[in-house]
């Protein structure tokens, strides 16, 4: 379909479902918002083309928040004025908490593809659901995986202390690793203001003799770390989480550097799965880019909405609040496969948390391989 923003009038066509989305499409984190925006758009287009939900079309609109809490609330209010009945978003955590405060008091149904902190859910009144893992889950799962598979003895960590996602995973990973008897020999942080040079952090890990580097960070920074480690001649194992997904798509990145990198991710763009392949193909055609996990999560979020609407028989003429009450109950009943469902599919509990099983993959010859 045409651009999600254009042609939107605030005059409501009562016979449609109004879904809004929020995330940064400008500013330093624009990539995440753009992915979420596009992923959802694909799902909406598919659903609409296939006849809609309960025969009703979806109207979808996405607003930019520049990864700023205040602007996110502005975006939310803009969508409210437009007639939004449910929200896919917001993309990033801190803004999501701010918006969650508003959706809770408005009783607006919210499903976030990617804001993964537990605080997101606790800011709501049961009206908020996550598609992604919560950060603690990822941290714990990673530590367990490393311990169970005896991947390393000495572990180094590099994480982004100014990022809620990264520091959230790191915190739980560290605790769990200690429980599992893993030895963390170095832990070094960086911040949003200094995320292009990791020489020092790598040197520390190297000096401490870390044979595995745990990188609970996004792939952009990871790509630099891989490159700098290579220049230094430091060759530990690298272990990432879902934020690492995308590393193979960085334009001009020498994928050889990512050889043997391991990551836990619910989504891999080159999985054999047919749904995934279709999605990737459409995404590439439409946006000239390979989708990452944000796009996949957001695609799943729209389908979860569809499932919940169908389950609850919510109708297009419901107010946002009524819709919310209906969907809240339905969410815990649905089960779907989606792109990120892994072997057990996606289910939600009452607090809004998702249950899904992460896949551990290793990069071989520039492609993911299940481990």
């Amino acid at each position: 379909g045409c651009g999600s923003n254009s042609g939107s009038s605030s005059k409501k066509d009562a016979d449609k479902y109004y879904i809004g989305g929020i995330g940064p499409t400008t500013g330093a984190t624009a990539i995440y918002g753009t992915a979420v925006k596009n992923g959802a758009q694909i799902a909406v287009d598919e659903i609409n083309a296939a006849g809609g939900i309960n025969g009703k079309q979806i109207e979808y609109r996405f607003e930019d928040d520049q990864n700023d809490a205040e602007k996110s609330v502005n975006a939310y209010n803009t969508l409210k004025d437009w007639g939004m009945q449910m929200l896919v978003g917001t993309t990033t955590t801190a803004p999501c908490i701010a918006v969650a405060g508003k959706t809770a008091s408005d009783n607006m149904f919210q499903i976030t593809p990617s804001a993964s902190a537990p605080d997101v859910l606790s800011s709501g009144n049961g009206n908020i659901f996550q598609v992604c893992f919560t950060d603690p889950n990822q941290g714990i799962a990673s530590a367990q995986y490393i311990a169970e598979n005896k991947l390393a003895k000495k572990i180094g960590i590099i994480y982004d202390s100014s990022d809620v996602y990264s520091s959230g995973i790191e915190e739980k990973f560290e605790a769990e690793a200690k429980d599992k008897g893993l030895q963390i020999v170095s832990k070094a942080a960086f911040t949003a203001d200094s995320k292009t040079d990791f020489g020092t952090q790598l040197q520390k890990a190297k000096d401490a003799g870390a044979d595995l580097l745990f990188l609970p960070i996004y792939y952009q920074e990871a790509s630099i770390i891989l490159k700098q480690a290579d220049t230094m001649g430091y060759k530990p194992k690298f272990f990432g989480v879902d934020g690492m997904d995308g590393i193979l798509t960085v334009e001009n990145f020498d994928t050889k550097l990512a050889e043997d990198v391991m990551l836990l991710t619910p989504f891999a763009a080159d999985a054999k799965d047919k749904a995934v392949q279709n999605f990737v193909k459409t995404y590439k055609e439409k946006y000239k880019d390979t989708p990452n996990q944000f796009a996949a999560d957001s695609y799943d979020a729209v389908y979860a909405l569809k499932a919940a609407i169908e389950e609850s028989k919510a109708t297009t003429d419901m107010s946002a609040s009524d819709m919310c009450d209906a969907l809240k109950g339905a969410m815990t009943k649905i089960k779907m496969q989606g792109l990120t469902g892994g072997k057990d599919g996606l289910t939600w509990n009452e607090s809004g948390e998702v249950t899904k099983s992460p896949k551990a993959v290793i990069i071989k010859n520039g492609a993911y391989k299940a481990m």
């Binding site: 499409t25 400008t26 500013g27 330093a28 624009a30 990539i31 753009t34 202390s161 100014s162 070094a188 942080a189 960086f190 911040t191 203001d193 200094s194 292009t196 040079d197 020489g199 020092t200 952090q201 040197q203 520390k204 000096d207 952009q220 790509s223 630099i224 490159k227 220049t231 230094m232 001649g233 960085v250 334009e251 001009n252 990145f253 020498d254 880019d289």
Partner: protein, 293 residues
């Protein structure tokens, strides 16, 4: 051993700050304006190289030359459109316009090149040097950066001291009206300053992205601010000051990150800056401008 390796990292980072700071200080020293868009010109330079090498498969030398030319033109055009009309206005007004230009360039790049980070292939083909049996590595980029830094500084100093345009720049920096009375074409001189500053920005950008191989529309912002800090640190307007300020800043940042706290490294840099300025209010090499009463 690791100390020396941190030191090398610091010098590597610092010399990049220094190159950016040279451009900053040059424009500041002559045109008396904080060109907050300088960092973004750097980013544009990187994209030019990235696109030429990646999409047009030109070799790196040609691409760099094209980037230098491109940035030089960009600098001149920005100056013409956004700064020149404000020559007589308050310096603050120009500062704000520079910020506008900075936003403009960032968002233009966002639309043209997208938000996703690109991995930048180093254009420096000097092999790295391994010392102490491979424990210490000095990368080719570091060597290239340090050398270009010193060469550029020397060239700039000679240019300003010896050439006629350099003399004109000095005059303009002191008093535009009086400079005009000497027969100096003030507009041309300022344009030239921007041209040089922006050309340098292109070189700085290429080295920056070669050393830290990533490129996004916001690549220039933080190094820009750091380089501004470095310029002030060394004494803004002073060319050797920019070099020394840049390198010290890089070293302090890396050592602070290594030995004190990696999260507070910026705070440490800024704290050192403040302390230096309190002891020497015009920076390390800045001239104490005496106001005669």
């Amino acid at each position: 051993m690791s100390f020396i390796s941190y030191l090398i990292n610091g010098i590597s980072l610092g010399s990049i700050y220094a190159i950016i700071a040279l451009g900053y200080t040059m424009v500041y020293g002559i045109a008396k304006m904080l060109n907050f868009a300088h960092g973004d010109v750097i980013m544009i330079g990187c994209y030019i190289v990235f696109v030429l090498m990646g999409s047009f498969h030109l070799n790196s030398t040609v691409s760099i030359i094209a980037a230098v030319i491109g940035c030089t033109l960009l600098g001149v055009v920005i100056e013409k459109i956004a700064y020149k009309p404000l020559r007589k206005a308050s310096p603050l007004a120009v500062l704000i316009t520079a910020i506008g230009v900075s936003y403009f360039l960032q968002n233009l790049a966002l639309i043209l090149f997208g938000a996703d980070t690109k991995s930048f292939t180093s254009v420096v083909h000097i092999p790295s040097i391994k010392l102490a049996g491979g424990d210490l590595t000095i990368s080719g980029v570091t060597i290239a950066t340090v050398i270009s830094c010193i060469v550029i500084m020397a060239a700039l100093m000679i240019f300003i001291k010896k050439s006629k345009s350099g003399q004109a720049m000095l005059a303009v920096s002191e008093d535009k009206d009086a400079a005009q009375l000497m027969g100096v074409n003030v507009n041309k001189t300022i344009s030239l300053t921007f041209a040089i500053g922006s050309g340098l920005a292109a070189i700085a950008g290429v080295l920056l992205c070669s050393a830290y191989p990533t490129l996004s529309p916001y690549t220039g912002a933080m190094p820009g601010i750091k380089a501004f800090t470095a310029a002030v640190f060394g004494g803004i307007g002073s060319i050797p000051g920019a070099l020394i300020g840049g390198i010290l800043l890089g070293v302090i940042e890396i050592l602070g990150r290594a030995y004190i706290s990696s999260q507070l490294s910026d705070a440490i840099v800024f704290a050192v800056l403040i302390i230096v300025l309190l002891v020497k209010p015009t920076g390390l090499l800045g001239k104490q401008v005496q106001e005669k009463v």
